[in-house]
């Protein structure tokens, strides 16, 4: 292991705390505790969810500046959380859907730039059953986060997620990843 790589390894106790943070976050999203989930976000968060496209080998080309499914900051996420968390402000989630978030493959390293932030990769599986549709919808995603340690735990300072579907096989994405 290089000196640089060694420097970026986090100790077992910290890794344990990071994992607990992700399990807690998954529980909040599963239970649709949107306000409590929002409290985990740093005020300067950039939240982005992209999607894959299929290309023949070597023919990938960029069209436009690119348009992910989500590109949000703290204030726009606040609007989303407000709408989704209140039965009078959402049609999609009233009655609330059943959600189960599974988070796994958690890797954590100190960020390359010093400053006490931690880079975390994780994989996510979201299982959803809506009131009007008994067949469950399952969506896989990969996430790259930047966690910032604060007095009472961590805040998510950046989330770059990518869903694992080119054509979403559901009527909407009325949930957050």
């Amino acid at each position: 292991m290089t000196t640089e790589a060694a420097r970026r390894v986090i100790d077992d106790a910290l890794y344990r705390r990071v994992c607990e943070f992700y399990y807690d976050e998954a529980d909040l999203l599963s239970q649709r505790q949107m306000g409590q989930w929002f409290a985990l976000l740093a005020e300067d968060i950039h939240y982005r969810v992209g999607f894959p496209e299929f290309y023949e080998h070597g023919t990938q080309r960029k069209v436009g500046i690119g348009n992910p499914y989500f590109d949000d900051d703290h204030t726009s996420l606040k609007v989303r959380v407000h709408l989704l968390g209140n039965p009078t402000t959402t049609t999609a989630e009233s009655p609330p859907s059943i959600y189960n978030y599974f988070v796994t493959n958690i890797r954590a390293r100190w960020a390359e730039q010093p400053g006490g932030e931690i880079e975390v990769d994780s994989r996510l599986l979201v299982y959803r059953v809506r009131a009007s549709e008994p067949v469950p919808y399952i969506l896989g995603a990969r996430r790259k986060d930047r966690l910032r340690a604060v007095d009472d735990g961590f805040r998510i300072a950046r989330r770059d997620a990518a869903i694992d579907q080119a054509i979403i096989q559901a009527p909407n994405l009325s949930f957050l990843l």
Binding site: V49, F51, E53, F54, Y55, E56, T59, Q60, R61, V63, G64, I65, G66, N67, P68, Y69, F70, D71, D72, T75, S76, V79, R80, H82, L83, N86, T88, T89, T90, T91, A92, R130, S132, E133, A166, I167, I168, Q169, A170, P171, N172, L173, S174
Partner: protein, 442 residues
């Protein structure tokens, strides 16, 4: 013999009752009607395929759909835009399985037949084995007729259809406002978002033709949260919808919701862009556009747009206009793929492009704060329409009875305008067009 799928023209005529402004729920649920739609609408009229800015260079291609047929939109090596049926003329294999790319041609993955970017057959598995007994020109990829208007590429399989310009007719005046309001026109911000609502493909085009009354019920909360930063927005929008024009012009039906007089003009448009609009559009078009807080429209059968100003933080986030265009692809009678693009003026700087992208993805897409609620309403319509008893109850567009005989007298644009976004006339007109194609009148 032509397969009629069990429907006589006289029966289809009765599905949309023009006098009563109602329609049978079977138009959303009957599998045979769905098959007939593919034949009588999607095989016969002009369909939106893509935007010219998606294929700027020779060899650029994207894969698309026309009805249930896969096609390739490609700019060939001579620079001509073509729409090729994406199926090998040997054994029907898809010759292109990517979403986008750049290629000199397409090679079938099964036997290696090669087609040029113009669709011409270049080589079979082994040309010599045909011994000269087959005319290879008959084995070129099938091509659709292609037409383009204001950067919008349409295609049709129908060689008897009128030219695209004639087909769009009066709709062009409104397309100019949305797609031709600057000298260089619009450009896409990326490849389309695609998602699959579990409802009949027509519910989207109808909603965008456009359904004024649903806006306050379904979108009131997000309007309150994003337009005026308080609870006044919903009431303002409600009044604006009640008093703004709805338009039918050729294959186009839609609404132009006008903000109140005290609202600033050109909300969300930088002054240097406004100068371009005022230079490019005529005064009547400018008058309709400058205070427009929602332009929502459908060009029959399945091309729609939605445009409007939004801010997710009235203190810190400048008001920006989102502009999404989409096609509603028929997959099955109760399943649709939405293909959704975001557009911005070609002349816009990087900062405005980024803001337009954010305004777009936060509002009108699968995870958008507007769309996610619409799709649940449409899913519920589908579930509510499927039963035997349910099929005996008609869907109602009967506000039209109150408005259809009183169009706006001094309307300055082409077509016919009605004085309220609540009128249901233009939405119902979309179904009247459906009826004309389905009965063979068109």
């Amino acid at each position: 013999m032509r397969i009629e799928h069990g429907w006589q023209p006289s029966e289809i005529e009765r599905l949309v009752d023009i006098d009563k402004a109602t329609a049978s729920r079977l138009i959303f649920t009957d599998e045979n009607l769905f098959r007939l739609e593919l034949q009588r609408i999607f095989m016969r009229t002009w369909l939106y395929i893509g935007h010219e800015s998606e294929i700027p260079n020779k060899g650029d291609y994207v894969t698309r759909k026309m009805g249930n047929d896969p096609v390739i939109l490609v700019r060939d090596q001579a620079g001509r835009v073509r729409v090729l049926l994406n199926t090998c003329t040997h054994r029907a294999t898809l010759v292109c399985r990517a979403d986008a790319g750049n290629a000199r041609g397409f090679t079938c993955p099964y036997h290696g037949w090669v087609f040029g970017s113009d669709g011409a057959l270049v080589a079979t598995a082994e040309d010599e084995t045909y011994g000269g007994k087959v005319n290879f020109r008959n084995l070129d990829l099938r091509q659709a007729r292609v037409g383009s208007y204001a950067g919008l590429v349409f295609a049709t399989w129908n060689h008897d259809a009128p030219p695209l310009d004639e087909h769009l007719g009066d709709a062009r005046w409104y397309l100019d406002i949305m797609f031709g309001h600057t000298p260089r026109g619009m450009t896409v911000l990326g490849l389309p978002h695609r998602w699959t609502p579990t409802n009949n493909w027509k519910l989207g085009p109808l909603n965008f033709a456009a359904d004024g009354p649903h806006a306050v019920k379904v979108h009131g909360p997000i309007v309150d949260a994003t337009l005026a930063g308080g609870n006044g927005a919903r009431a303002m929008i409600h009044q604006a919808l009640l008093q703004s024009p709805s338009v039918s012009a050729g294959p186009y039906n839609g609404i132009w919701t006008q903000g109140p007089q005290e609202m600033p003009e050109w909300m969300g448009h930088p002054p240097e862009m406004v100068a371009l609009y005022e230079k490019t559009l005529n005064p009547a078009q400018v008058a309709l556009f400058r205070r427009c807080i929602a332009s929502v429209g459908t060009v029959f059968p399945n091309f729609s747009w939605v445009y409007g100003p939004v801010s997710f933080d009235m203190q810190a986030d400048p008001i920006t206009n989102f502009f999404a265009i989409r096609v509603w692809q028929p997959v099955a009678v109760n399943r649709t793929e939405i293909w959704n693009w975001f557009l911005v003026e070609e002349e816009a700087g990087e900062e405005l492009k980024t803001r337009a992208m954010r305004a777009g993805v936060r509002t009108f897409t699968a995870g958008g704060t507007f769309d996610q609620d619409d799709s649940e309403a449409w899913h519920s319509i589908q579930r509510g329409s499927e039963g035997e008893m349910s099929s005996t109850v008609d869907v109602s567009f009967q506000v039209a009875l109150n408005y259809r005989d009183r169009p706006i007298a001094d309307w300055e644009g082409p077509g016919v305008a009605y004085p309220s976004n609540y009128c249901e006339v233009t939405e119902f007109n979309n179904l009247v067009q459906w009826r004309a194609f389905m009965t063979g009148a068109r």
